[in-house]
Point group: D3
Chain length 127, copies 6
C-alpha cells in the first residue's frame, strides 16, 4: 500500500509537473533521497489525489499559500507551472497573486508576480 | 469615482459577508473609522470585483492565505463564512485546510481546521 | 503497509503524548477525520519513527520550530509535554525557549515561555 | 559593567513602561528568571539606550515590527503603552497600524488595531 | 477621484523614490499592469498621503516592517532609499535595523543590514 | 564584565564557527560595527555559554529555528557548519531538516535541505 502511495504520487506529479520530480529527485539523491520519496507519497500521493477539490483549485490555493510564505520562490515557480499544467490560465494565476497583496502585503505579492513573470518568460522562450 | 469604489466594495461585502462589514465598521468606529472605509474600497471595491477569477476561487485562495498567516483566526473565520456565502461547500473548505499542512505545516493547518469547526458549529446552532 | 504507518504512528503517539491523539481524534471527528489519520501516519508514523535522531532531540527541535511559528501555542504546549514524556527536563525546554529570543525575537520567545509555564503548572496541579 | 547594563535597562523600562517590568519579572520568576534579566539588559539596556534614534521613533518602529509578527498581541499592547509613555499620540500609533495593511496585509493590521483599541479603552477606564 | 488617487500616488512616489515607480511600472507592464496602478493608488495615493505621521517616520516604520517580513530584500532596499530621500540619515536607518534583532531575531536583522550596506554602496558609487 | 561577555562570545564563536565572526565583523565594519559586537556579546556570550543544554542540541534547535524563518539561508548555512563543528553528524542535521516539513511545510524544509547540500559540497571541496 505504501508502494501504492508512491506510485499514485508519481502519477499525480506526472500530470502536474512532469519535469519537477525528476529534478527534485536528482537534487536530493546524495543528501536526502528519502525526502524525494516522502514528497511523492505525502503531498502528491495522499493530498493531491483526494476527492473534494479539483486540481485547478488545489494548485491555485497552493500558489496563494506559497506566495504568503514569501521565501520559497523556487517552489512558487514550480506550482505556477503546475497550475498551468492542470488547466489554469496565466490570468487566473496573476489574479491570485494580485489578491495576495491584501493578505500578505504588497512586497510579498510583488515578489510572487516577478516569479510568475520569470516562469511565463521561460515558457515563452521554450515555444 | 472614489465613492464608486466604496459603493462597489459595500455591495461586494453584502454578497460575501453581509454581517461582517457592519461589525467591522462598528468595531473601528471610535479608533480608525478610515480603516473600515479603506477595507470596503481596496480589498472589496478594487480587488474582489476584478474579472478573471470567480468569487468561489477568490475566497478559497484567501482561506489558504489567511491560514498560512497563522495568527488571524478571526479573519479566517470571516472568510470561511464568506466562502460558504459565495457557494463553496464545507468539504471544499476543509480540503483546502488539510492541504495547507503541506505548505504551512501541521500545527498551522490544524488551528485553521479548529477555526472552521467553530464556524460550522456556530452556523449549525443558528439553524 | 499504510495500516502499518498508522499503527506505528499511534504507537509513537502513545510514547510521546498518550492523551493527545485521543483528544485530537475526538476534535477532528466531525469535521476532518482524515486529518487525524494523516497526522498519525505522516508526522508520527513516517517522521518520528525515523532513525538518525533520538526522540529527545526530535522533540526539542520541534519545540524550537513551533515557537518560531508564533501562532501555534496549543501545539507548542503539546510538544512541551511530549518533550517531557520522552525524557527532556524542564530546564532543557526552557533553555531552548530562551535561545529562541536570538532567532525569532523576544516577544515570540516570551510567549513560548508563558506557554511552557502554563504546561508546567497544569502538570504540577495534577500531581 | 553587566550590572550597569541591567541598571540602564531598568531605568529605560521605568521611562517606557513602568508597570511592565515588574509584571514581566513576576511572570518569569518561577520559570525563567534569567529571561527577565536578559530582557532588561539586552533590549532595554543595550538597544533602547543607543544614540541615533529618539525613543518615540524607537517605539513606533517596534509597534510596526510587532504588528508584522502577528502573534504577539500582548507585547504589541505593551509597546503601544510604551509609545504613549514616551510621547507618541494615539493618532500616530493608529497611523502606523493602518500603514501596516500595506506591508503585512489587512488581517494582520486589523488585529493590531483591535489590540490598540483594547489598550486605549483600558487607559480610558483608568482615568 | 480615482484618477486623483493615482496622481497623488505618483506625486508621492516622485518624492519618495523617483526611479522606483518607472522601474516597477516597466517590470509589471507585460504581466500585471494593474498592479502598478494599484500600488500608485493604494499605498502611495491613499496611505502615505495621510495626515498624522511625517514621511520620515512612515518610511522608518516601513523599513522595520519589511525587515520583519524577511523575504522582501528588494523592497527593503527601495524603502531604505525612500527613507534617505525623505530625509532620514543612514545612522537612523541602521539603528532601526539593529533594533529589529530584538523583535525579528538576529539572522533577519543581519540580512536587512546587508541590504542597507548594498544600497549605501550603490549610492556611494553613483556619487 | 561587558568585556567578559564579548570575550566569552568570541571564544564560543571560535569553537562553533571559527571563520564566521571574522567574516561577520569584516562585513559589518563600515556599516554597523556595533552589531558585530552585539552578536558576540548576546547570542554567543550570553546565550550559547549558558548551562543546561549541550552545544550540539543548541545548534540543532537553531538549525530548526532558522529553517522555519525561511528567509535566512546564509545564517542557516553558518549554523549547519556550526552544528558540524560542535559534533553533530550530517545525518542528524538532515533529519532535523526533513522533520521541519511537518512544522514549516515542505517548500521551506526543501530549501533548507538545498542549503545543507551546498554547505556539505563546499566542505567536501575543501578536503
Amino acid at each position: 500500500m505504501s508502494e501504492d502511495r508512491y506510485k499514485k504520487g508519481i502519477e499525480m506529479l506526472k500530470i502536474m509537473n512532469p519535469d519537477s520530480y525528476k529534478q527534485l529527485s536528482d537534487n536530493l539523491d546524495d543528501i536526502a533521497p528519502d525526502m524525494a520519496r516522502l514528497i511523492a507519497e505525502f503531498p502528491y500521493g495522499d493530498i493531491y489525489t483526494r476527492q473534494g477539490l479539483d486540481l485547478k483549485t488545489r494548485e491555485l490555493v497552493t500558489v496563494a499559500a506559497v506566495t504568503v510564505l514569501g521565501s520559497a520562490q523556487t517552489q512558487l515557480g514550480s506550482h505556477i507551472k503546475g497550475a498551468l499544467n492542470v488547466g489554469c490560465t496565466r490570468e487566473e494565476i496573476v489574479e491570485v497573486l494580485i489578491q495576495m497583496a491584501v493578505y500578505a502585503g504588497f512586497p510579498t505579492a510583488l515578489n510572487a508576480i516577478y516569479t510568475a513573470k520569470e516562469v511565463f518568460e521561460e515558457l515563452d522562450a521554450k515555444k
